[in-house]
């Protein structure tokens, strides 16, 4: 039973989610996007393509990922039962690989010998380098120079996998600048290059196809929760930078009216300080990186620098479907501060023996506030989108160790 729109009907044929999305790119890329759109339209329901994807998900990624009841932590919080959707257990350590497997299959089908990607925390870069290694594709990863510094472990992993990591020094030297540079590369090498965008943003059809590849998260979680409890969860919680892990969890539940959803943005030093990366909570609509969405911008439409402890959420935009889900009120978007994130990182590590990525710890921090407001008969699913090994140096540095 649903009273909302038919969520499966979005985006419209031109890539719009209500007022958001679309295809705002320079002319040189229009043909490549049309080709990608056609290829995906042919393949998305093709039984052979789906079987290839499902097989890789099972035997290469290790899916289905478990849905784990965090019993000790739930008791400690004294409210809802908290389930963790363990995307951190996927091959490469995060949800990102669901998308890179899917897009690499598209690249292979389109005969592109070279792939490029942007990355923030390096999780998408690692997931891209991984599939490129497996398929023998040439791979170059654009990464902000500041992120190269704070995510050294992932930089080394990408290089071991045979990818070239190109530090980007323009602008704020973080994820948005890496995306600018990847776009510049693509416009130059569009004939032989496939651009594996790492989140549900960018020009149509990227927000749609990245979402579709990640929906396996929500489909599994829905079935697993039904099987373990006999009912649907009361709430879903996921962190939102571009928003790929969140949309992957949320989308298969959108028609389930009783399921509340919370997207957790990077509140940085606090929304009131302006030093954050929370466009849905504190930005306004605009156009960047090929789509219309909520942005962090000044009064003159210039994109402003963002701040977050987590490189993966340090981005001034967000996927257009999230912008639309916010406007229609289906998903609540909230923010937590760096300080709350750090506390949540330690809490989950010490209480459940699960060390979340700092991005993921945003969802953990919000769930810790939400759970006590619910009863023990109710339940929450957190998308545990990535593992925290990559962040131990950041955490140590923040705590003066």
């Amino acid at each position: 039973m649903t009273q909302g729109p038919d969520y499966a009907a979005f985006p419209d044929p031109r890539g719009h989610f209500g007022a958001y999305g679309g295809r705002f790119v320079s002319e040189t890329l229009m043909a490549a996007l049309a080709e990608l759109e056609e290829t995906y339209a042919q393949l998305r329901d093709d039984p052979v393509f789906r079987a290839d994807f499902d097989r890789d998900m099972a035997h290469y990624v290790g899916r289905p990922s478990p849905l784990y009841l965090a019993e000790r932590w739930s008791k400690k919080l004294g409210g809802a039962q908290i389930f963790l959707k363990r995307e951190d257990l996927n091959h490469t350590g995060s949800h990102k690989v669901n998308n890179t497997i899917g897009q690499a299959l598209l690249a292979k089908h389109m005969g592109k010998p070279r792939v490029i990607a942007e990355t923030g925390a390096g999780q998408h870069g690692v997931a891209t380098a991984t599939v490129a290694a497996r398929l023998g594709l040439k791979c170059q990863i654009y990464m902000g120079a500041e992120d190269v510094e704070r995510q050294k472990l992932n930089v080394f992993r990408m290089r071991l996998l045979g990818a070239e990591v190109i530090p980007v020094t323009s602008g704020s030297a973080t994820l948005k600048d890496a995306m600018n540079e990847a776009m510049r590369d693509w416009v130059t090498n569009v004939d032989d290059t496939y651009y594996i965008i790492g989140t549900v943003a960018g020009p149509h059809p990227y927000p749609m196809l990245v979402r579709d590849f990640h929906c396996i998260i929500g489909r599994e979680a829905r079935a697993q929760h039904l099987e373990q409890t006999g009912r649907l969860p009361d709430a879903l919680v996921a962190c939102v930078g571009g928003g790929s892990n969140a949309i992957g969890l949320f989308h298969p539940f959108l028609n389930d009216d009783g399921v509340a959803m919370y997207g957790v943005e990077a509140g940085g030093d606090g929304l009131e300080t302006g030093r954050h990366a929370a466009p849905l909570s504190a930005g306004r609509p605009g156009v960047l990186h090929g789509n219309r969405t909520y942005l962090m911008e000044d009064a003159d439409g210039q994109i402003i620098h963002t701040h977050s402890v987590s490189a993966g959420l340090d981005y001034p935009g967000v996927g257009p479907e999230h912008a639309w889900l916010k406007d229609i009120g289906r998903v609540q978007y909230v923010a937590v501060t760096d300080k709350e994130v750090l506390a949540a990182f330690h809490e989950l590590t010490r209480v459940e023996g699960i060390m979340p990525a700092l991005e993921t710890a945003h969802a953990v921090a919000y769930a810790a506030k939400l759970a006590p407001t619910l009863s023990p008969e109710q339940s929450i699913i957190i998308n545990l989108s990535g593992r925290g090994d990559k962040d131990i140096h950041t955490v140590a540095a923040m705590e003066g160790q």
Partner: protein, 269 residues
Amino acid sequence: MSRIAGCFAALAAQGRKALIPYVTAGDPSASVTVPLMHAMVEAGSDIIELGMPFSDPMADGPVIQLACERSLAAGTTLLGVLDMVRQFRQDNDTTPVVLMGYLNPVEAMGYEVFAERAAAAGVDGVLLVDLPPEEAGELAPLFDRHGLDRVFLLAPTTTEARMKTIAEAGTGYLYYVSLKGVTGSASLNAEEVAAKVETIRKHAKLPIGVGFGIKDAASAQAVSRVADGVVVGSALVQRIADHAQQPEAIPAQVAGLLAEMRAAMDHSE
């Protein structure tokens, strides 16, 4: 007739081609731009493309990225850019000015307000790099109402079917991007450009300007043989960058290169 249409008609009558320089407004500071625009006209420019600086110029190479950074650091706003055009118009009522940039600053001002203010300032056309015709449905009628031409890009990857769509959506002139890449990247291949321009002409009545990869008098001359207009940007902006510490030298430096191009284009037979 719009200033742009009038300009191309007059040039065609003389058998000449349009020289179209691009500079980023407010680079390196606001006081440079208006004298620079006049100097470019003096040097033989026919239309000026004035860049609206943007924090994330995705289609531009390092030269214009840095120009945007210099301009924004100097405090340039979209209102400031419009004011530069208004000042230019006090002494020049004939040379068309086309604003070139990215959509977001325009969207932040509001489409209607922007169209009104741009027309009032004396702007003749607008080229938004990240706004293909498919997404321009809301802006097009506003530009029409305020007499602003809509300049769209064509690229080496543009299919013939799309050429037709773009030709129908554009007014003023069409801008053919001569190569796959960002501004200021490689050198263009004149033969490939000639072949492509010929194909575009099958679908378009509008004049065709060609830009990207035009660096000197020789490349300007080569392009002027096949196109109606020659757009030059990064080569000029590099001269601005080289003299950012002596801004009084900038107009003459930029004008010098344009004069060489003008001479080569006018003696191309």
